[in-house]
Structures are given as structure tokens and as C-alpha cells.
Symmetry: C2
Subunit: 358 residues, 2 copies
Amino acid sequence: MDNNTYVVIMAGGIGSRFWPFSRTNYPKQFHDVLGTGESMLQMTAKRFQDICPPENVFVVTNRDYEHLVKEQLPHLSKNQILLEPIGRNTAPCIAYASYKIAQLNPQAQLVVTPSDHVVLKQEVFTHVIKEAVQAASQDDVLITLGITPSRPDTGYGYIQYISDATQNIKKVKTFTEKPNLELARMFVDSGEFVWNSGIFIWSAKSILRAFHQYLPEIAEIFDEGANFLNTPQEQNFITRAYSHCRNVSIDYGIMEKVDNVYVLLADIGWSDLGTWNSLYTINEKDQNGNVVDGEVILYDTKDCIIKTPKERLVVLQGLEDYIVAEYDNVLMICKKSEEQKVKEFMADAKSKKGPEYI
Amino acid sequence: MDNNTYVVIMAGGIGSRFWPFSRTNYPKQFHDVLGTGESMLQMTAKRFQDICPPENVFVVTNRDYEHLVKEQLPHLSKNQILLEPIGRNTAPCIAYASYKIAQLNPQAQLVVTPSDHVVLKQEVFTHVIKEAVQAASQDDVLITLGITPSRPDTGYGYIQYISDATQNIKKVKTFTEKPNLELARMFVDSGEFVWNSGIFIWSAKSILRAFHQYLPEIAEIFDEGANFLNTPQEQNFITRAYSHCRNVSIDYGIMEKVDNVYVLLADIGWSDLGTWNSLYTINEKDQNGNVVDGEVILYDTKDCIIKTPKERLVVLQGLEDYIVAEYDNVLMICKKSEEQKVKEFMADAKSKKGPEYI
């Protein structure tokens, strides 16, 4: 446990590939997706309990979700919840948190993590993060956790690294965002690629240096207003700052451009749980290959994922390889193989039936 | 319009093949199944408005449904609603109504009808019923309406009649309850069979005579207590009477045995709407063959019947030939070809999840 280590949990997303479960007014990270009794956000916060003191955990979220964060993580102080007026992707979010924490502790090491991923191997995770923090405290490096791919998934970013058997932390050669299936297969077969987990480790100094060099317009905005951070003026400043920040991801804006990026291969039982299929993959199946969360009676039904409200009895007959999902007055039934259409469903639901359905 | 004509609407059934839409506490006949704004019971009552005065319409139902009948047919007096303490099939139900009406008017002609069937050709229906009533008032005959079969349906009873081109009303040769598919095909091909609509026309005298001859134990019960009918003691008497009546249908108990049974061929646009497939058949389809009643967005979906609550958005992808039905906290998805399993689903829902689901 290191007092200089800080965790930034990014909890402002919508999780739209998980519709109708993930919704504008109650996104995925606030749901108990795995049925463990804890939300993804709560599981994420707990994941760092042996890594840094609880007062060093910061959550960045949209202002609309402030009440949800307070409800789910009641031990956080007001200063530990960073409220974005609008989503501007990961770069402004990370700039905000990094500037704020750097002002509190210029020697800070930051671990930046999504709020809606799952990590099954807690002990390995703690060990790996500590190793990365240690490295980031010694050198001017930006580290990302890399996951050895188990399949040619086209929904992930891939990182090619330079093999070096003497080092756990490998130098990154290239980043590739969501490749097509053919490319993904080549990546997996080559053995030189890992999935980009979106979990980053760096010192506050290193990431601020990178912002100045690669996203100078964002650095300028936060340099000018840095004195407002951790003061009663912070919210007003952030409202102004975000109105000037463009939408840009940390991967595109910095990671793919800098030359001091490293990847730490981490076998941590990771999934981004970004899609219905990933939820299907990670869950236990019944004897017919069904993943069931709900009051369900099944006949001639196999390889389905069913997630419906406890209070509703669901009787299914003759379904194979389907998603059956109901949440907050939306029922969706869709072939598992067609789940990429969920975003189209959402858009149509909004335009044809109304914004309350997304 | 004839003051001696009376209508008996049998409204005590459960409609279990229509689960989860038809439910113990709200059976099919009380639903607006066709989405016309009127329940099946209301449509049935209205069907007779040119046949007899409204005070001659009697509804027999279970005591549990008294409030539903009063709500849906508020013009009925208390004496027009006959309450059964327990369902004992059609013979006791018809005996009760026939004895009661015969006491009010010994010259009564009765039309007995289910409460949950559909008749699309109202004018033909009125004409046919009047013709049958006329015949029943002149001769000691028991008449049933026969429907020319459009398909070898195994869910209906079949009536074989003796061809006689000089008579509209044909003498019945045999009754056959729900034949297997092979037999049903032979029946349809022969041209000598019609479906038994379950709509009966006879004089009170004729049906009481038939009860005395073929179901004497039921006749005896009602003969003994006839003086209680249409008095404040009626309910008490009926409770005792039903505890002694065995469960027997009018078809099995009388129609299949007597030799003065006739069938009137009636092209009235009839369906018993007994099953999801019959509801599918009778309804208008969209361009992909779907019957939709609900807030629905469809993708790659054809030949389905979808009946879901208005307040829920239902998004379906990749379904063909399915029933998707939700009512009162039960969602059922089932291949149309497997709808005979609905009774099994109901039984399992009750035993595994609780009586509130049936």
C-alpha cells in the first residue's frame, strides 16, 4: 500500500452495446451485471483496496450520475468524485483527474481504469498493478496492461509489443483499434499481440508531460485553470474547460503517438464485459449452455443468454443462440450472432418510440 | 326479435390454451383479444341484440368472475348473472340455466353460446340463429351450428350429417371429439363433416326432456330444487346442487346420445379463438406475416404473433414462426408449431414458481 498511488475510475460511459440493460439513466457500471450483489463500479473500487488507501480513489463521472456514485461508494468524499458536464472521451477525463491529483500530490502515481470491466484474478491483479506502479515511479513511461487474446475478437484494440524475454514490461510497437476478423486472426496467430485492457499506469508527471507534447490544447486549458482545482471554483472551471475540449481518446491522442509506451502482460482473468456475448462467455452455463439470470423455465432452449427482471416469469421454448434481455420496460430478443445490431436497435427505439427507451 | 327467445352465455371457462394471456383471475372471455375495444364477452352479448331483448340474456359464470361480468355488462340485472360455485363442465351449467329460464317462461327457446368465440359475419349469424330458433319452436329438436371446416384442425369436434339437399337443417349421424390428424383429413376430404361450434339452439322443453332421459341424475337434482330458482334461496340451492353434479359435457352427456339432434350449416366467419394459432389465423398480418399487438420494433422477423403490454417496448430480431406473448408478469416465447405445450408450461409454472402465474 503506497500513499503516493492514486486510482482514477472512469465511470461516465453509457455501455450502449449492453442495451437494453445499460441505459442512459442507469448505465452498465452501476448494475450488478454478474449477479454478485455488487455493481461493476463497486467491484472496481474494491479491486484496489490493497493497492492504495481509500482516500486516494477518485471517480470521474457525468454530473447526471453523481447520485449513483454517492449511493454506491458512500465512503468517497465530495472531492473524490469528479463531475464532467459532458462526455468528451477519455483524454479530457484523464487530464482533469491527473491535473487535480498532481496538485494534491506532485509525486503521485496514477492507475487509470474503466469502471465496468471484470477482473477474476484479484491477487494477480494486485501484484501486476504494484509492479507497474513501481516501474512508473522510476521511469518516464506510460504503461498499459495487455491481455493475451483467447480469440480473434474484433471488438478490442490490439497492441503489438517487442519481444524481450528479460523484461516483464515490454516496449510497444503498434496500436491497432478494432481490426477486422481477418486481421484479428493474424494478430492472435502471430503471438506478438495483446488486447488493450484500457487500464493505464503512469506517474502524474509523465502523463502531464505527454499532454503538453501531444495534446497541447488540452494541456493549455488545464494549465490556465489549475489553480481552481480542489477549490470551490472547480466545478465552474470544469464547465468552461469541457466546453473547449474536443472529443478525443487517450489512445488516439497520446498512446498511439508517444515512444515511451510499455505494455505489461497480465493474466488477470479480464473481460471488458462490453457485449452480451462477453457476458455469455464469462458466465457459468446450465447443462444446455444457457446463461440465466431471472425467473425462467426453459424447454428445448440452448446456448442462450437470458437476463430478465426477477419479478417476471419467463417461459421460453425452442430458442437457440439468442439473447433474451429485459430491463426497465424494454424487452429485446436477438440472435447472439447479430448483437452488433444492438446500437441500431437503440437508435431506432429512440427515434421511433422515444428517448425514455435508451 | 322474439320475447320467447333467451340467450345463455357460458362464461365460466379458463381458456388455458391461451396462457399466459388467459389467466385464472382474468380468463380470455374478459379480454379484448382482438383489440377492438370490447371483450369477447361483450362482443358475444352484442351479437344477440337483434335476436332477443336484453333482459332475456343470461350469463353463467364462476362466482369468482361475478365482478368482471357486472363490470363488462352493467345492464344485466342480478337475476341475469348465474353464478357457479365450481366448474362442472357444460351439462350442469346448461341444466341450471335451462331450469331457471323454463321457470320464468315455459315457452322459452334457448340459444346457448360460449362467451369467447368470434363470429365475423354478424348478419348471417342473426339470420341463422333466427332460422334455428324457428325450427326449435316447432319441433322437439336439439340443434347445433355446424361450421364447414377450412382445414383438418385436430382441436375441434366434428359432426357428420346426413346429406339432404331439401333441408337447411340436417340430421346428425355422428359426433367425433378432437380426432387425430389423419382422421381429421379424412373428415374434411369427405365433405360430410362440419365443426361443432358449441352454439346450441333448442326449446326449454326439449332440453329438459333430454336431461330427464340421458342425464337423469342431474335432472333429479334440479327437479327437487326448482322452486328455489329465481328466489333468494337460489344461491344456496346451487351450491348444494353443484356438489352433487358430476363433471360432464353436454356433448358427451346428451348430444352424442339422442336421436333428435340436427346441425344447421352456418357460414358465419366463426373461430373459437381457442389457441394462439387461431388468433394468428384470424388477424391481419404485416408485410412479413407478423400479427402484432404491442409496442414493437421488428428486424428479420416473420410469421410471428406478438401480443405484449402497450407500456413495454419489445425489440425482436431473427425470430420466425414464434409466439411472443406477455401478460400480467408472465412472458412466453414458443414456436407456433409447439403451442400444444402451453398447458404443460402452465402446469410447470404453477408447480415450480407458484399459483400466481396461472
